[in-house]
Symmetry: C2
Subunit: 106 residues, 2 copies
């Protein structure tokens, strides 16, 4: 996965941090499907994801507005995945919705 | 690394995404030192970090205020590390400063 190319702020970030349960249980296929679906949603700007060897995963998706994030959260197939995530795939997770105010880089 | 335990929003997040250059070149020791130093800074709330097998790394640190983030950026030893990061350790990086507005989890 490559770094996301985002426009000048302001825009929004959804920071999703997770610890997985043991075994795949359909996770990998659904995770890829969700990235594909999110990428086709209105207001999607980009996504970055990494999971370390210690099991902590961080996925940050970038959006034009809070409304775009809410619409993605309410998307039908995504709602099914969210339920499976809570019940099956994630031991623990945190979602943080944040407004990106400034950015720089190399 | 464990998920960060943060207070109720609002607070601030510094989202640092990077691609490393080849070889360690002192990186691992400095990275750990920076986490230790940041953790002792005023206004520090927590940090989460993951680097995937494809090389993309994401570190999110959480802070009470933008002022706390600016003070950490200006910290002397951190400034030295930032210069080495730009010149030696990172092929590419992005820093995004964001205001966390809501949060939930499991």
């Amino acid at each position: 996965m490559k770094p996301a190319k985002t426009p000048a702020p302001p825009y929004y970030a959804c920071i999703f941090t997770s610890i997985r349960t043991a075994g795949d249980q359909g996770y990998a296929d659904t995770a890829q499907r969700m990235i594909d679906l999110a990428s086709a949603q209105p207001g999607f700007l980009g996504v970055e994801s990494a999971r370390g060897s210690d099991g902590l995963g961080i996925t940050v998706s970038y959006w034009e507005s809070e409304e775009a994030i809410r619409a993605w959260k309410a998307q039908t197939e995504h709602r099914v995945a969210q339920a499976a995530g809570r019940d099956i795939w994630y031991e623990q997770f945190d979602v943080r919705i944040a407004r990106v105010e400034r950015a720089y880089g190399k």
